[in-house]
């Protein structure tokens, strides 16, 4: 029932002692990274006796990760690094995380722990329907499943026909999938004349990478006749494996031997008590390549107070309720409105007014970008307009990795930007609404 009984059921007091030791070691390691060396020289290394002492350190944000590109957060010689993961896009510097061999091993063990906790065993056939590559979701689960010992099918996302073929031929029992795609894939199964509840062998799914509601999870479970487990992670930590649901399906255990979690008030940074919603702030406790101190995840959640009936002592976080910044999550892909704006403004013939809308179509998110054309660039031909439309589409696709629906508007059709114009409208029924 436990992947690592000693760690998973460790007494709270022992767990806190372990956190303290690891935090002290993390601070030492972090001080080898140029950014933290400068910071700690200024503020002085905090005397850490208990995990709460960490609040004396300043936060780390995505902005610092970007500004310190490429090696400002690297705490080991580059020769010790075996892999990097990076955010996509070309607007501003990407955020890059470097992993040593030890980091990769620790990460795959964490993911294996998550999958084992949810009930996956080495006899399972695991189909990984997530993107491989720079995105951590695919590789993170892949290595975790191999570590656990399950036969892993690294099929990646998309191509529903092929997904279903693998499921039937190899009797897939567990899958890792975006919640939105789980619903759409079920409709494809039905279109092929099959019943996802009875004609397939899938018994469990790991769903994550995009916020979703309890209702969506229940719908996935109902449609497939499976159990679906919520997964939480972010590439700045390692990727998946940060927090995960146990069979109780009542909150995600955050692995406190590996991460020090705080919940803070997003505006002031002040800590909020357990049970109250705020922004999740994480400190890595074992990572060697890129240790991060008090990293602002911008994800809004709360600590669920009280012990879990499953016996694990690691505290649980609630499902993510939204973001404290303007990042959009489109089918699991993270996009900032600024990326869209900067891409549009580089295209000649495009005006400065635009509107981003996120719709839900057939269980998938769809990014709609409406943009005004510059009044004086019109040449009177349809081909010019079509060319402009496809240039905008290609540029946005290259920047974000998502294919948007682009609409060219007459100049002046969008409300003029007075003060802070509303440029993003989320029309999804289940979008995170914040705390």
């Amino acid at each position: 029932m436990y992947w690592d009984r000693d760690i998973e059921t460790m007494e709270r007091s022992a767990l806190q002692r372990l956190q303290c030791e690891r935090l002290a070691a993390t601070l030492e390691r972090a001080a080898r990274a140029p950014y933290y060396r400068r910071l700690l020289e200024k503020t002085g290394v905090a005397d850490v006796r208990e995990p709460g002492d960490i609040s004396r350190l300043p936060f780390t944000t995505k902005a610092e990760l970007r500004n310190e590109f490429p090696y400002g957060f690297l705490a080991v010689p580059l020769t010790d690094v075996v892999r990097l993961h990076s955010s996509s896009g070309t607007t501003g510097n990407p955020t890059v995380i470097y992993h040593t061999k030890a980091d990769i091993i620790a990460w795959q063990d964490l993911v294996a722990r998550c999958m084992y906790m949810a009930g996956m065993r080495s006899s399972d056939v695991f189909q990984n329907i997530m993107g491989y590559g720079l995105f951590t979701g695919g590789l993170g689960f892949h290595y975790g499943a191999e570590k656990l010992g399950a036969m892993t099918i690294p099929v990646g996302p998309g191509n529903s026909k092929r997904q279903i073929w693998f499921m039937r031929e190899f009797k897939t029992t567990a899958m890792h999938i975006l919640p939105s795609y789980a619903m759409r894939l079920a409709t494809h199964v039905k279109e092929m004349g099959l019943d996802p509840r009875t004609d397939l062998s899938v018994r469990m799914a790991f769903v994550g990478a995009e916020p979703h509601t309890e209702e969506t999870r229940r719908r996935i479970e109902e449609t497939w006749n499976i159990r679906a487990f919520n997964s939480y992670g972010l590439s700045e930590m390692c990727g998946p494996g940060v927090a995960f649901e146990c069979p109780e399906q009542s909150g995600m255990h955050i692995w406190e031997d590996s991460f020090l979690a705080e919940i803070v008030e997003p505006d002031t940074g002040a800590p909020v008590p357990d049970g109250e919603c705020g922004e999740l702030v994480l400190t890595t406790l074992t990572r060697t390549g890129t240790p991060l101190l008090r990293y602002r995840t911008r994800d809004l959640t709360r600590i669920i107070p009280g012990p879990c009936p499953c016996g694990r002592t690691h505290r649980r976080i609630d499902r993510i309720r939204g973001r404290s910044d303007d990042m959009m999550i489109i089918n699991g892909v993270n996009i900032f409105p600024l990326q869209v704006e900067q891409t549009l403004m580089r295209i000649p013939g495009i005006g400065s007014n635009y509107l981003i809308e996120i719709h839900e179509e057939n269980f998938m998110d769809r990014l709609h970008v409406s943009v005004e054309m510059a009044a004086d660039s019109f040449q009177g031909t349809l081909s010019q307009l079509e060319g402009l439309q496809s240039r905008v589409l290609a540029a946005l696709r290259d920047e974000t990795g998502v294919t948007p629906v682009v609409k060219l508007l007459e100049a002046g059709s969008l409300p003029a930007a007075e003060g802070k114009a509303v440029r993003v409208v989320d029309r999804r029924a289940q979008s995170g609404k914040g705390c």
């Binding site: 054309m373 439309q389 007459e410």
Partner: protein, 143 residues
Amino acid sequence: MSVKQISVFLENKKGRLAEVAKTLSHEKINIRALSLADTADFGVLRIIVDNPDRSLTVLKTHGFVAQVTEVIAVEVEDRPGGLSRILEVLDQDNVNVEYMYAYVEKSRENAIVICRIDDRERALQILEKNGIATLSAEALKAL
């Protein structure tokens, strides 16, 4: 001789075409010919009016994306083969017609088509050489 056509960019939005017509009608501008090219998302309205310069100003002040395109008004014999002959003549000299549309005219012997051609000067020479008449803006207005 070429004439001025007004091209207007239109989103595919209900009532947009009606607004162009209304805007021009308020200014007592008469639309003499019109064509609409569209895709699923947007369209381009092309019009020949009795006062193109004022039309452009009026449309722009009303927030439309509009511009002027030089086109040719060609006289076409109103009988079978009339249009075919003109196109043949242009084709022989490799002049490509981007688009064309008919000009509405009552009680005249000949019909008129509006042609948009990239190489307008050469097209005019070819037409003239072959005895095909084109109309000036003034002639068109006087009709």
